[in-house]
Amino acid sequence: MQLIPCPWCGPREEAEFHYGGQAHVAYPEDPSALTDEEWAQYVFFRENPSGPFAERWSHSAGCRRWFNAVRDTRSHDLLAVYRAGEPMPEVLS
């Protein structure tokens, strides 16, 4: 089973975690000002790269905190984990 290094708890089994999709997608500052196209982009469209991907995880069966990770979607290698609010480390190629 894959180990995911929670930035608070250290490495734990993947089954303790919940996936949250792409990281760093900010809620629009003024949603009512968006066009339909912009709103669709916010609601439905996400990056889906084959390679490094910044994404959110929740340690739902542990400390229950959300954090971010950069993971290679081809190998499933976790290239970096960092706490919510911290900037993305320079691992994206």
């Binding site: 089973m1 919940h18 669709a40 609601v43 084959s50 979607t73 081809r74």
Partner: protein, 412 residues
């Protein structure tokens, strides 16, 4: 011992005739189809057969039908909820019913029926609603109670004292399975015979456009000019579309499946369960074929996590206690392109001459003939076929979604 007079294997019979050749790519084609899986091959076949367009290449980065076409659980059904879905899935099922004759090739299409189990009151309500919707669309569907489930598939445990008891099921008698490899080979053989070039080990690395129109594809085997380009790349659709500057609302996930060792015939139909996350049929050869839900994370690695298999096995054992002594032979994963409303995206794009067929997620195999026919029509006429007209990319902006999370069953 004396050395053999002939090289090893010389006494064996000749290799049977190849079903298709492996031509070098030409410098240009009228239509280039990216992805040599079921959908790509079927699209090429109907382009040639129905529309007389034969200057066509199917580009496959690996070997023909070695992606999701080789990895799916071969379930064919058309019992989706909405009218839009009924249109394309039932069109596909009708084509399946005549496909063996059409291709002149055996595909072991076997209409053994599918049971979609209900395990909660909400499941029951949704299922009965779906049966009614199917019937209004002329699709065979019935609601069966637990005793009826037992009658159709005697090995299902319908005892009330399990964690998720079977409260009934929808049943589509015309549903079934087919031999996925034979389907691909049948389409490939027939398309090749009409002049389509099937080009393997040819990965698309770029899409060229000029004046808002597609002009060529760059590949690992050189540049190929194209009048039109049709994407049939399933899990890799996002990567390809991005080469033309198009963002897709897709997430690529691993979807795992597995087979048991070969067993005597014990399972006469197909059983699917949304609630406990497993679907099972028994292949003609005798192995039990089971699928799981998707792994939660995005992934392109064609493998998933073991705990998903564990959950799937525990669900299968509760439904089918008779499986307890079966041995797991092999597990694998394919990369499925999941869309926000569990419906596909089939149609035009903002780039002229570039067409999109993706977002089938976990359920693309059943659509192979239907979408091949409709996508070929879309490419030939530069206009969607009525059956794929609702499945535009624009629906995510207009809000005209086709929400099939219930009928798409297990995996979304």
């Amino acid at each position: 011992m004396t050395s053999p007079a002939q090289p090893p294997g010389a006494h064996l019979p000749e290799h049977p005739d190849f079903l298709w050749e492996n031509p070098e790519p030409k410098a240009s084609y009228d239509v280039v189809i990216v992805g040599g899986g079921g959908h790509g091959l079927a699209t090429a076949y109907y382009l040639a057969k129905v529309h007389g367009i034969t200057n066509v290449a199917v580009l496959e980065k690996g070997w023909l039908a070695g992606g999701n076409m080789a990895r799916n659980t071969t379930i064919i059904r058309s019992n989706y909820l909405w009218d839009e879905s009924s249109g394309i899935y039932e069109h596909s099922l009708k084509l399946w019913e005549g496909l063996e004759e059409d291709l002149g090739y055996p595909i072991l299409f076997d209409q053994r029926g599918v049971l979609n189990l209900a395990h909660s009151l909400q499941d029951v309500r949704d299922s009965v609603r779906r049966v009614n919707a199917n019937r209004l669309n002329g699709i065979d569907a019935e609601w069966v109670d637990p005793a009826g489930v037992k009658e159709i598939c005697p090995i299902v445990n319908v005892s009330p004292d399990v964690r998720y008891p079977v409260l009934g099921a929808t049943y589509q008698p015309r549903a079934g399975i087919a031999k996925h490899d034979y389907v691909a080979w049948g389409y490939a053989r027939a398309a090749h015979a009409m002049g389509v070039d099937l080009i393997q080990n040819c990965e698309v690395t770029g899409l060229e456009t000029a004046g808002g129109r597609i002009t060529a594809v760059q590949t690992s085997r050189g540049r190929i000019a194209a009048g039109k380009v049709a994407l049939c790349a399933a899990g890799h659709s996002s990567v390809l579309a991005k080469m033309a500057g198009i963002r897709l609302p897709l997430a690529s996930h691993p979807l795992q499946a597995l087979v048991s060792e070969l067993l005597e015939p014990v399972h006469p139909t197909v059983v699917m369960s949304n609630a406990v996350h497993v679907y099972v049929s028994q292949a003609h050869k005798g192995e039990l074929v089971m699928g799981a839900g998707i792994d939660s994370y995005n992934g392109y690695g064609q493998r998933g996590s073991f705990h998903i298999i564990e959950q799937q096995m525990s669900a299968a054992l509760e439904l089918f206690p008779v499986f307890a002594r079966a041995h797991l032979l092999r597990t694998w994963a394919g990369i499925v392109d999941v869309s926000p409303d569990a419906s596909p995206i089939v149609g035009l794009t903002p780039v002229g001459g570039l067409y999109l067929n993706c977002g089938w997620g976990t359920g693309g195999f059943k659509a192979t003939p239907g979408v091949g026919d409709c996508f070929a029509h879309t490419i030939a006429h530069d206009k969607p076929h009525p059956f794929n007209e609702p499945f535009t990319l624009e629906r995510f902006t207009t809000g005209a979604l086709v929400d099939e999370h219930g009928a798409a069953a297990v995996a979304h």
